[in-house]
Symmetry: C2
Subunit: 419 residues, 2 copies
């Protein structure tokens, strides 16, 4: 691997996705390696939201629920996402938060699993190191429904398949781990789960928008995801959920608000669930956030997802190579797999005691990654707007901070709530 | 009552809230009597959202969770609302949708009710004519938790108190009815519920922002509400919820996402509920919608809520008086109580077959009210931006449409999804 800046620039010149960066607004003097946490601002979102405020809300007022298509946003925005995650038409809605959506799907999946066979399986299988909110949500549902299920948490991703047995109702996993970037083989795990009669729920928060996700081809049952990371929907943008078409109409989610009704505007006194994907909605859609996301998803119309994945892995390989070369001897331990097929689009290191301060110093120097408790430095590579020269300069700055021990100044050790 | 336009203008001239209308952007040629469904756009929201997009998201990126205070929005925005609804400091959060929040509170309230005495009460008491999504949510929770509770729906608001007995766990009511505008006596119903050992959940969707709501003084246990009606937060703006301080830490809501954790950014593997109001959050807050609402709530800083309530009732009395005088003989039946203390800030009529078409014709003429299935014409009076001359002109146009039977043209009978 040629680790020169000239080589990095040559890779950028040959990058088929290089032009995409022009579709984003990024501040000068910043190398942004945290698009896995909050994606960058796509150009055009500002105009779109301003139009919704001034014309649709300000002038159209209540009429815009029809005339501006607000009422259909949960499905019309989802249609743009379906192609990015390999989902069938009509299998996705944008709604609520990822956590709320997971609650809906877990409850519906447990009902579906119970209906598919006599008796009731007891286990929901996940990883201890799954994104915490996913496991918290499962704990909340289990507590609410009387502890009739158990959340079984294995210690490593490799321990998932051996833990599959005929008492597992649901396998609930995140496709790419938020800490170390480990990527599950979605199709293989799904097939293994199905082989013991279990259903799967995948959380796509750290994979959708960074690689091909093939929900239909992998025969996935249910999925949730986040739109504010690689999908660039904006801070706290709504979540989404996927239900395989053959499950629609055969299970019911419990947050049965009016948008989940077969005929919401009939205002009928009794709940009658919609038979299509809208049964997985709940309340009134958040229009401002929805239109921002709608605009942001237009970026994907012409993206070759195979090229996206290749660039993502090449960027990370280049980053790892540079760190190996320039940052050796500073106690950084790579916790992300080196094998390309086992990785998402992020690279993480641990440091025994300086992780937080090192990341703070790096951010102060204009290279934005993030820190995850207790000791992880995390770097994400959003292939639509990060190039090889960015990676080169990021490591150059990091090496300088390590060599000079700049990071050990007191101001870089003062903790904030979120990094 | 002097029903002349001159009298209307004199009332506007003497209105202490008249200046407030300048804080809203309303289109020319429109009289907006649907602020009870979607509030008007407050001036300044556009600039605030534009700043969040360009500077906080675009430039600040992930750093804005700290530097722009995004992480605290659910509480900092709620603080502005607490004074409007008579709630104690720290008793309200902005989050999710009204429906999702009701699900959380119902589950928490049932747990609290069960803990407060030996044994388990079976009934959740409400009205058949409650806003449908509230009853749907209760049905969903009851179904999920194994039908151990029953949703008892009385036929009239007057039937609530007689239905109270010691098998009622929760009284779940909307303060002001969405169809006929009937207003419950919150303090009296709450006291009666407490007298039989039940807890109350009030939905404030159609009251907050149109009158004084005194949650603490009325000793309310729990409340939810909507911010896109009289609170002008924008289409699909986030909901809010209230938990009386003495219940905090004594019951747990089941949508236990990471923002409900005692220490969300510790990413600990097990859920540990926060002991304060943040336990009622779930996932990541929707920042764009939150900042729009935050700006919209600044309108309330100097509003005298007693003056607001008086104006609201005066507007509606004036409207009823004008309709009685100018629209007699057209089969309109007032279904809103004439007694001021029994009303919210809306006035509704039924018409045996022309309701939808009459409202469509009126909207086409620039007077925006709405229609609610099957036969209700609904007019809302947002006291911050509606004046007496507006009411006079609205009825003048309506009378003309009725006299000329303009409404009976085919185009006014074609139904849309939402009105």
């Amino acid at each position: 691997m040629d680790l020169s800046i000239a080589a990095a620039k040559a890779l950028d010149a040959a990058d088929p996705l290089a032009g995409k960066a022009d579709q984003f607004s990024l501040p000068d003097g910043v190398i942004y390696l945290d698009g896995n946490s909050l994606g960058a601002l796509p150009k055009g979102v500002d105009q779109r939201v301003a139009n919704t405020l001034a014309n649709e809300w300000g002038t159209g007022l209540i009429r815009s629920w029809n005339s501006a298509g607000w009422v259909d946003l949960p499905q019309s925005v989802a249609a743009k996402l379906e192609t990015v995650i390999g989902a069938e038409p009509g299998s996705v809605v944008i709604a609520d938060s990822t956590s709320v959506n997971l609650f809906k799907l877990l409850a519906a999946a447990l009902e579906r699993a119970a209906a598919m066979e006599a008796g009731k399986r007891r286990k929901i299988l996940t990883e201890r190191d799954n994104f915490p909110t996913d496991n918290y949500i499962a704990e909340g549902l289990i507590r609410l429904t009387g502890e009739t299920h158990e959340l079984v948490r294995v210690d490593t991703p490799q321990a998932v398949l051996p833990a599959l047995d005929e008492d597992v109702a649901i396998v609930m996993l995140t496709h790419v781990n938020y800490r170390n970037g480990f990527r599950h083989d979605m199709a293989a795990v799904t097939a293994a789960a199905h082989a013991v009669g279990a259903l799967v729920i995948w959380d796509l928060a750290h994979s959708a928008g960074a690689m091909q996700v093939e929900l239909a081809a992998a025969r996935v049952d249910f999925a949730v995801g986040c739109t504010y990371k690689y999908l660039n929907g904006g801070p706290g943008a709504p979540g989404y959920l996927y239900v395989a078409p053959h499950h629609l109409g055969h299970c019911q989610q419990p947050l049965s608000g009016w948008f989940a009704h077969a005929d919401p505007f009939a205002f009928s006194p009794d709940y009658q669930p919609a038979s299509d994907i809208t049964q997985f909605l709940c309340g009134t859609p958040p229009v401002l956030s929805m239109v921002a996301l709608d605009q942001a998803l237009d970026v994907w119309a012409d993206v070759d997802l195979a090229a996206l994945r290749k660039k993502s892995l090449d960027l990370a390989d280049y980053f790892i190579g540079l760190i190996d070369d320039k940052c050796a001897g500073h106690d950084l331990t790579l916790i992300t797999p080196r094998e390309r097929h086992q990785r998402g689009s992020q690279v993480s290191f641990t440091h025994p005691d300086g992780g937080y301060a090192m990341m703070s110093a790096l951010i102060a120097a204009g290279v934005i990654g993030d820190f995850r408790s207790p000791d992880i430095l995390r770097f994400g590579f959003a292939p639509l707007y990060i190039g090889f020269a960015d990676v080169w300069h990021a490591v150059d700055k990091f090496a300088h901070i390590l060599e000079t021990r700049q990071w050990d100044a007191p101001q870089f050790h003062a903790r904030k709530t979120v990094t």
